[in-house]
């Protein structure tokens, strides 16, 4: 295992410290328990937005703390959801009295830990609503399973719900915007190589030189199936097809197209995938109104990408365009 780290046990703490030093104009850091808040939190009268999850997905979530997006991010150990004793103080720290929305990716660990923290916060008199993100079409959704995972769509939920909070929407309003985004976004991912969790010291799975994993998540879990390496257009078609089918995208639809790198893929390759995805959407009669291309929700140094499509309406577009000023996403501010 080759990494620019000092010790697997100090990866999260040291990287959060570095992040705090580099972005001291935007965020404040709590070291024990670990969480990151907007520097000006709590913002008077504004609904607070908290997200979190295992580390290793950077810039998610700390990179999205700031004006127009999250009020707090709560990083767990690498690929391990954080604990209530981190989530609770983060929630209290960003509550201005207007209540707090938890944006939670649908994994058993995240759900349970945020659930406990929400109960404890309610017990301290803070109203909490939870938006569960579950946009991954690679995973079967059923009552009898853990349900679909939260992946790329999380970034879009955080941005758009963040804009709703910033414009002054109520607690229920912010939560319902977040749910609307989640209901209209779907994602599918591919890995060309695995990632290595620092304390594990070995790649999360073994892929032959001519194989790729289709339907991977963001935790180095193996995907749904393994196929021989294909060219970029073929892979793009394969990822996009179930996404568009599940969303029933067709003629006249306006979408946001998000091509996300898993951490170890050059930007040039993401643009090659993006190019093909635009062609496919155009062929379906849909219009790409907004785009995002880059490493926004990653799995350490994994090579691969995910494609997310969000069906836009005027309000979602307006909220997407609203000013945002965070370490990883910035415009209009």
């Amino acid at each position: 295992m080759k990494k620019l780290i000092n010790d697997p046990k100090s990866v999260v703490a040291e990287s959060v410290q570095g992040f705090g030093l580099a972005h001291a104009d935007l965020v404040a850091i709590s070291e024990d328990p670990t969480y990151i808040t907007r520097k000006d939190a709590p913002v008077n009268g504004k609904v607070g937005l908290v997200s979190g999850g295992g580390s290793g997905h950077e810039p998610l979530h700390a990179g999205y703390v700031g004006k127009g997006m999250l009020d707090a991010a709560v990083p767990g150990a690498v690929f391990t959801s954080p604990t209530p004793d981190q989530i609770l103080p983060a929630t209290l720290a960003v509550n201005s009295g207007a209540g707090v929305v938890h944006i939670v990716k649908n994994y058993t660990g995240d759900v349970l830990n945020f659930e406990t923290a929400a109960e404890l916060a309610e017990a301290e008199g803070v109203s909490v609503r939870t938006v569960l993100v579950n946009d991954d079409v690679a995973v079967e959704d059923s009552l009898y399973t853990a349900g679909r995972r939260g992946v790329g769509g999380t970034v879009l939920v955080e941005k758009i719900a963040g804009a709703a909070a910033e414009r002054g929407d109520s607690l229920d309003g912010v939560a319902s915007i977040g749910e609307r985004v989640n209901a209209n976004v779907r994602t599918m991912g591919v890995a060309l190589s695995a990632c290595t969790v620092p304390h594990a010291g070995q790649p999360s799975f073994d892929l032959a030189d001519d194989e790729i994993e289709i339907g991977i998540g963001i935790h180095g879990e193996p995907g749904r199936h393994r196929i021989p390496l294909e060219n970029a257009d073929g892979i793009t078609d394969r990822l996009l097809e179930p996404v568009l089918a599940d969303l029933n995208i067709g003629s006249g639809d306006k979408v946001l197209l998000f091509v996300n790198g898993m951490g170890g893929t050059p930007q040039s390759e993401l643009y090659i995938v993006y190019r093909r995805a635009v062609q496919v959407l155009k062929d379906k009669g849909a219009t790409v109104e907004r785009s995002l291309v880059g490493n926004y929700i990653t799995a350490l140094e994994m090579q691969g990408c995910s494609i997310s499509v969000l069906r836009l309406d005027d309000e979602l577009t307006e909220l997407w365009d609203a000013p945002v000023h965070t370490a990883a996403l910035r415009w209009g501010a």
Binding site: G54, A77, A146, E221
Partner: protein, 210 residues
């Protein structure tokens, strides 16, 4: 052999030893069908339990288990943290403040723990989770206690053996809960890491009484 506070402390220390010793094995199991962190999480959690126990000895087995519940809840994270936290919390509640645990009480505590895991995680037997270690353990402990065994050790042993067999029996299952469920059919042929750590915990209970 009496299952008192001293036993409970020995047990929890042995749990920590077992997690440290099996850390890599649990990481490897989780690497195959999950995200490679289970051994790291359990090791970190039980080291914290040991540190907590070092700050002052709990007066009852129930108190020891409550302290464990709170520590695991705040140090483990992931799915296992809240599930084990709830399990230890429910067991502690079931035991109340009795100074010693008799076989029937132990069987009831295990049942409460298992019910807590199910309440939080919604898994059924056969879903390839830690429930598949706990459910046979609960049944075996209950049967041994009902058979009138007044030998606490025998009840502990029955539970541990059943948990171990339950963990092995997860091998062919297709996961329906937890992270392994994302793999669908590909999860078959691997042992569930949480079932293995559960068996380690119940085996440590035997060691503490032996």
């Amino acid at each position: 052999m009496v299952l008192d506070a001293a036993w409970a402390v020995r047990w929890l220390n042995l749990c920590a030893e077992a997690m440290a010793e099996h850390r890599v094995e649990l990481i490897e199991l989780d690497r195959a069908i999950g995200d490679s962190d289970h051994g790291e999480n359990m090791d970190r959690g039980f080291q914290a339990v040991v540190a907590k126990l070092g700050e002052g000895a709990p007066e009852t087995p129930g108190a020891a288990m409550k302290l464990t519940a709170m520590t695991l809840m705040s140090k483990v994270g992931g799915a296992a943290g809240p599930l084990y936290g709830t399990a230890f919390l429910r067991a502690a509640t079931s035991l109340g403040d009795s100074a010693e645990i008799d076989p029937g009480a132990w069987a009831s505590a295990l049942a409460a723990a298992r019910d807590g895991i199910v309440a939080r995680g919604k898994a059924e037997p056969g879903d390839k989770t830690m429930v598949d270690a706990w459910t046979p353990a609960v049944d075996a402990a209950r049967a041994a206690a009902d058979a009138g065994s007044s030998d606490a050790l025998a009840v502990l042993v029955a539970a541990a053996e059943a948990a171990e067999a339950g963990a092995v029996a997860t091998d062919p299952l297709v996961a329906r809960k937890g992270r392994a469920s994302y793999l669908g059919e590909r999860s078959a042929g691997h042992r569930d890491p949480g079932a293995v750590s559960s068996a380690l915990i119940l085996r440590a209970a035997v060691g503490a009484a032996a």
